[in-house]
């Protein structure tokens, strides 16, 4: 039998609050309890006893682990490593709530002589066993390993000060004493106050205030205290249950824990006016749900939905122990290697502001867009793309300042990294833009900028701004597109080839398109001639006497390495041939010699062709499709300079 080594005193240390220990324990008892989930079907939960070979303690397994227990992967005798867990008080006893575990041995004889106490036994705080845990708190503790309750990648810019007046116990800042403080067991706890008013006694004392980072769905009564860092607008929605409205606000507590709170309908009416940005509130009771990372980038794994018995109480006398905002500013140079979609905070000097432009979104509606050039001390600059309301609010203010020759510091909280012509950062709905904020980073940046940083050369990581000569265009040969397997990835590859056109497919060079306009956008779907002799669009469900003609031109290109097929759509084909699809159709129908001349005039001439290479599936057949996105007439002088530049870089690399 494989040897199983249980973590000595693992149970004791875990109960004492060490949630990073990841002890190896043995399940010595396991049973299923049914719980009534609110609004969900009855679900089973598993609870039992875990042992470290000497001591045991009750354990509850989180819902996501039920499958493991039901399938028998965890059973009596299993040796498991507790990867993630919290300690809770249940009925006066400490219980390990296991959130995540690894099964090391599915079956094993009971190791050692654990003291197995019947699970139903009600023990209290004065149980000698509990005393024993407290007495051995520091056992097995790696010295100098201050243990945050939850790994937190953020380095808070503001070091939250440990405030004596704060009711909650800072669990993460006690670097001096390596004693573990129980995660969900702060020193302050209101005495239970039971009112004897009916059959059921209810503890009506205020719930204890705990750090946001130790919130978990397995606690019924809790309270958190935090400053509102952001408050969303009221959003109205419509779903299967009908219409509703919701608003969110974000809380930050003195330990740097953040969480989003959502208030729907009745709760919105109760709390919308109450909640103000910058003020401190105690929030108690609510439903915890796993965070949806698409929308929420706070450091908590949970989101709170307030309910009927929730409360949000203003703390008027709150001091500055809770910062008003938490930033995790990253140097611009780091964004270069940051994957698209990452949410981050940046701060930089606004050196350029473009005018607002209107762009069309995918759903056909229009929005505003503005580009701000930001630079910082990392020697890089980046484009910040502002969307929507930001353009007229902060955007106009910035533009006015930059035009006056004042270059303001701009802090961006919650920006999203995009990959569009290089890396840039865009605003999202929960972004916040701070012009000349009163932060140490802003002051440092200002000093640097005024003391010479203004003239320091920076390299843009948003390729849009680099001159076309050094633009990072990937030059390829035709053969290399196939040889390198371009277009097989998730994203299309963009390459430029110098090639000539050797063949046009002249019989089907265009299609009949729907001319319906929705706003500025044309439908452009293929239309067919109906029985009535009119053109019919299936999408718009309309008929027209005349239709549009749009290019869908297949052509073959060749360079010294080989040939390949390329598709050119409307704009590029028109640019290439120098006439519209309708003109060409007319030439063809009339037997006009210009039809052939138009195409012949483009044959065997050199072009710089920018291609989008992407594998696509046509009726179960996958093949790489090259789409022409830009045509440039070949310019020998520019090409010579390009080659010289290429050669000089090549020579320099040897």
């Amino acid at each position: 039998m494989a040897s199983a080594r249980l973590t000595p005193n693992g149970v004791g240390a875990a109960l004492a609050g060490d949630t990073n220990l990841r002890p190896i324990v043995q399940v010595v008892n396991l049973r299923c309890v049914n719980v009534d989930g609110k609004g969900t079907p009855r679900s089973d939960r598993w609870r039992g006893l875990v042992s470290d070979g000497a001591e045991t303690c009750p354990a509850m397994f989180a819902g996501q682990l039920s499958d493991l227990a039901r399938s028998g992967l965890i059973r009596r005798g299993s040796v498991v490593q507790l990867d993630e867990y919290v300690i809770n008080m249940v009925g006066g006893r400490r219980v390990i709530v296991v959130l995540n575990l690894t099964v090391l041995l599915a079956e094993c004889d009971i190791i050692g002589n654990p003291v197995i106490t019947p699970e139903s036994e009600s023990s209290n705080q004065n149980n000698p066993r509990v005393e024993q845990f407290n007495g051995t708190r520091q056992y097995g503790l790696a010295a100098g390993n201050p243990s945050p309750t939850r790994p937190n990648g953020n380095v808070p810019v503001f070091q939250p000060s440990v405030s004596g007046s704060s009711l909650n116990t800072p669990t993460r800042l006690s670097d001096k004493s390596p004693v573990f403080q129980p995660t969900a067991q702060p020193s302050y706890r209101p005495a239970p106050s039971y009112k004897n008013q009916g059959a059921i006694a209810k503890n009506e004392a205020p719930a204890r205030i705990i750090p946001i980072s130790s919130l978990n769905p397995y606690q019924g009564r809790w309270a958190i205290k935090g400053r509102v860092t952001a408050k969303g607008d009221i959003r109205r929605y419509h779903n299967a249950k009908g219409e509703g409205k919701v608003f969110n606000f974000d809380l930050l507590d003195s330990d740097g824990g953040e969480i989003r709170v959502a208030c729907f309908n009745t709760q919105l009416d109760r709390f919308y006016e109450v909640v103000e940005v910058g003020k401190v509130y105690v929030v108690s009771r609510g439903n915890l749900k796993p965070v949806q990372r698409n929308y929420n980038h706070l450091n908590s794994e949970w989101e709170i939905t307030l309910e009927r018995d929730s409360s949000v109480d203003l703390c008027p006398d709150e001091n500055s122990s809770i910062p008003s905002q938490q930033f995790n500013f990253r140097p611009i140079s780091e964004i270069e290697d940051t994957p698209t979609g990452t949410i981050l905070d940046i701060i930089g000097v606004a050196i350029s502001v473009s005018p607002s432009t209107t762009v069309q979104k995918k759903n056909g509606t229009e929005t505003l867009k503005r580009m701000i050039g930001l630079k910082d001390m990392s020697g890089r600059s980046v484009d910040l793309t502002m969307w929507g309301d930001f353009c007229n609010r902060e955007g106009s203010q910035l533009q006015e300042m930059v035009e006056r020759g004042v270059f303001p510091v701009l802090g961006v909280k919650t920006g999203r990294v995009n990959d569009f012509n290089g890396k840039c950062v865009g605003t999202i709905s929960s972004s916040q833009l701070l012009i000349d904020p009163d932060l140490s980073e802003a002051h440092t940046l200002r000093q640097w900028f005024d003391g010479g940083g203004r003239d320091a050369s920076t390299q843009s990581i948003s390729r849009d701004h680099t001159p076309s000569a050094s633009r990072n265009e990937v030059r390829m040969t035709v053969a290399k597109i196939k040889d390198d397997g371009l277009g097989m990835g998730d994203k299309p590859d963009w390459v430029t080839v110098k090639a000539s056109i050797i063949f046009f497919k002249s019989d089907n060079f265009c299609y009949t398109a729907c001319p319906t306009k929705e706003g500025d956008r044309q439908c452009n779907k293929k239309v067919t001639k109906g029985t009535s002799g009119l053109w019919v669009c299936d999408k718009c469900d309309k008929e027209f006497p005349e239709c549009d003609y749009r290019y869908l031109l297949q052509l073959q290109i060749q360079d010294h390495s080989g040939t390949t097929w390329v598709t050119a759509f409307q704009e590029t084909a028109q640019e290439l041939l120098g006439c519209s699809a309708l003109e060409l159709v007319t030439y063809k129908e009339n037997g006009d010699p210009r039809f052939a001349e138009t195409m012949l005039s483009c044959l065997f001439k050199d072009y710089l062709l920018r291609l989008k290479v992407k594998e696509e599936t046509y009726s179960d057949e996958r093949r790489v499709k090259n789409t022409l996105v830009k045509v440039e007439r070949f310019d020998p002088a520019a090409e010579s300079r390009y080659l010289l530049d290429l050669l000089s870089r090549l020579v320099a690399s040897y």
């Binding site: 010579s640 300079r641 010289l644 050669l647 000089s648 020579v651």
Partner: protein
């Protein structure tokens, strides 16, 4: 191509290293009088070209093949009109390459 009598690419700077030998360069015509032509090399030196009768007027570019008389003059054997639209920067880059580390790649 006659490889027995090569005419290396030169600009104003490298002309002096080929004194008495046949070279090939491109200059922009500045002044042309009585068979003596003043031309601006692609790296900004003023060169005197002798025997360039029938050369075009400024601001045409001409290719000159001839013997390097001195560090700033060439006795032309042939002149070719390259027109007005010529990229001196690219030609200058070519001259540098032809007289650099990899000159053995050039005639």
């Amino acid at each position: 191509m006659d490889t027995s009598a090569p005419s290396p690419f030169v600009n104003g700077e490298t002309l002096k290293t080929f004194l008495g030998r046949r070279v090939r360069t491109v200059v922009q015509v500045q002044h042309n009088e009585g068979g003596v032509l003043l031309g601006l090399s692609t790296d900004g030196h003023q060169l005197t070209i002798r025997g360039a009768s029938g050369a075009p007027e400024p601001p045409h570019y001409i290719e000159v093949i001839g013997i390097a008389d001195s560090s700033l003059s060439i006795r032309a054997e042939s002149c070719t009109d390259f027109g007005e639209n010529f990229d001196g920067v690219a030609f200058n880059g070519l001259c540098k390459l032809a007289n650099d580390k990899y000159n053995y790649l050039f005639l």
